[in-house]
Amino acid sequence: MSNEAILHSSVVAHDHHDSHDDTHHEHHHHETFITKYVFSQDHKMIAKQFLITGMFWAVLGGFMSVLFRLQLGYPDSTFPWLEDIIGKWGKGGHISAEAYYALVTTHGTVLVFFVLTAGLSGTFANLLIPLQVGARDMASPFMNMLSYWFFFLAGLVMLSSIFVETGPFSGGWTAYPPLSALGSASPGSKTGMDLWIIAMALFVVSSLLGGLNYIATILNMRTKGMSMTRLPLTIWALFFTAVLGVLSFPVLLSGFILLIFDRNFGTSFYLSDIFVSSVGALPNEGGSAILFQHLFWFLGHPEVYIILLPAMGMVSEILSTNARKPIFGYMAMVGSMFAIAILAFLVWAHHMFVTGLNPFLGSIFVLLTLLIAVPSAIKVFNWITTLWRGNIRFTPAMLFAIGFVSLFISGGLTGIWLGNSAIDIHLHDTYFVIAHFHIVMGVASMFGMFAGIYHWFPKMYGRYLNNNLGYIHFWLTMIGAYLIFWPMHYQGFAGMPRRYYDFSVWESFKQFADLNRFISTVATIVFFVQIMFLFNFFYSIFKGRKVTSTNPWSSNTLEWTTPINPGHGNWVGEIPEVHRWAYDYGKDGKDFIPQTTPVGDDESVH
């Protein structure tokens, strides 16, 4: 038997999308390449588009971090190949300060917005909402398509900013004015910044179109019997994510619009009393640079939860499925996500404790910030209790879900440090902050995303990812993530500031040269491990082991009642009716009871 034959020996015939409900989606019989793969209105295809575009940006953003970590780890070495790939920015094989800051800024922007917002909730909201609530597609498939293409356009504009003469924006992903408003203060704030704002504005449009659609679909298009309290936690999480996005992204856009005015039309929203060495005193007076920070963080903080909540939802679902045990405290999970969503709007100024904020106002934000630890703690304890006395299957998805919980604990606890203004006044903008948010938001959410990809890959492509590569991917990434970010806490304890190109002249910070080299080396290795994952991903799309049963993980949720390769419209014939919540695992001695199974007379009540 040939290898291929072994791999695909048990292929079963499965329904393609040509046999489904005629009255609904007749026109999809005549799909062309363009309507199927490019301007598709099928939520599943849009999800894949978001995912693969997100991967592109993840590779680019990740590679940027490898480049700037080279500078931090090996400030005295030269890498002649740098000049080949980044030209004048890497003259003599040495990354210039300008390039370093541009890389740091683009890395942050791209990872936060393009990868962990669009790539994460764009992918899984699109894929899972219709499938798990029992709908044939989104409320507005056309808007959904636009949402992707605005994102694509945002990406093109951002990409083009890398190639302008004065370089891409280099003032940090938070884009604080006046630095971001004044081309004379930094070359990156010239054309690069205009393109950055345009890209971000397009991105806001994309995320609003998507978010409104997600909300409308969840509220209005649930199948018969799917009450809100029967929704899988993934859907609850994506719902709160969408609400956060819809309410906070417009505020960011307003902040950007004022910034555009300040940059181009002579207004003074953010500018006052400025003397730039190269051009002298500016005419602007009466603005407040801090206003932008309020507008920015009014999105910026909810953004953290926009990134984190989908990961939490997927992790809850995957933990429960693979522990073969109901999620512990379903209502508490929903309640804590609701609390997090509300509090997310009330804590933004904890990013601004040292801006000269009114101390009393600061104290309110301390209180509200630390309050978030309570629902977060509930979630962690509930996840751990879900594992307790379960029967755990370590699929790669499950491993990443457990890794997520571990990282969420590690990174979440340091939030208690930074949320307390009296500690933040020391640790603000040090490596401690980098460690905190990379672990809790960056890596943890990335783990949630990986968990989701491994878990739902069979639904997306009708094939499996290679398991063993999945295990290698998980363990190396898990170990690597801790090796990279854990020691950074100590650099923070030394007061080492972020966004420094070189520490060699600092008596207080230069003692970490060895550690920096170590971190850079591990980061590079971990980056290549991710490339291996991508290889697995694309290889498996075409050559992976084929899925032979509709429900490979023995899961309860609705997406596993669709054909292995569902067409546009998802279900053949009627959409199934739902009779129970999504977490009847191990009930009455039964391994699992799908949501579509009617409640039996003799079933126990809990």
Binding site: Y101, F275, G329, A332, V354, A377, N391, A422, Y490
Partner: protein, 370 residues
Amino acid sequence: MSTVLVIAVAVLVFLVIFQIAKASEYVAILKGEDRSRKENNKINGFFMITFLIAGLIGVYYCNELLVDKTLFAQPSASVQGERVDDMMKLTLVITGIVFVLTQIALFVFAYKYQENDNRKVFFFPHNNTMEIIWTVIPAIALTVLVVIGLRNWFFFTSDAPKESAVVEVTGKQFGWIFRYAGEDGVFGKKYYRMIDPANNSLGLNWRDSADINIKDDPAAHDDIVQDQTMYVVKEKPVKLIINSRDVIHDVGLSAFRLKMDAVPGTPTTLWFTPKYTTKEMREITGNPNYQYEISCDQMCGNGHYSMKGIIEVVTQAEYDEWQAKQKPAYYAAFPDKDPSNQQQAVPVAVDSAKKVTALSSAKSISTASN
């Protein structure tokens, strides 16, 4: 050449891993999916517990290796910073306990409850008592941290004591400018359009300028302006009035465990009481090159990383000696007004009483230094 070699090795390693992974997938299918899944489960369960143990040892080892390089290895240089240190230690204990317990629970459960054909899953969808307990306990712990934190926060942000020295700190791309009030104890007015990089880096109102409605402010005539190094007195509270000339900067005082942004157009303040002179700190740290460094902690442009200032903490006597040598910046801009350049000069056109005192005291300083 070596780069090519590295890439070649990387690709090779990658291919080997991929081939092994692929081959073991074939083996798994031939063996039967169920059996291979159970084998993988055992391996990963073992890794879980190994990761936990290695991880906890790693956390300990990392601490051993690095803690001496952090500020925990030296006392806080300010009274305020001692409170920050105490709070960090308390928070470390609380979060540390939670960290260890939850990580142990997570990985031990993962290991212990790995798939086993004989285990019957415990159907345990919720338990109100447990959920209330783990809502209330974190809430109490956090209340403690909030109360202590806010007491310190209000202490840090309270008004500086009356006897404090006052220094104005101004950030610019990429350096720091310090201003002292001079003999009169009053900071003269300034306006950013008066800035002249050559001799008036802060834009002090040293002359009438009708077109922008500025009047000469005599209180500005005796202000002392210096770049890069700030002098403060040990055990005497010092209040910083923080400004920026261009973009947002941040006065980062890691040795003192404090920082505050410098925002153009909106002055901020920060006060602290230094505990050790720079010399004492050199002995404490055993580093003869030790300096109290001001680091810019807010991204301010391409030279951000080089925006360094120095704080010299000295005794009162040393401070007095230093102060006596300082000349008001006004005289550097207007040498003809410098009393030491015109021995006989007596102020003729006197604008205000203040100017007389300012000039005469400046004169007395300059004579004293001679």
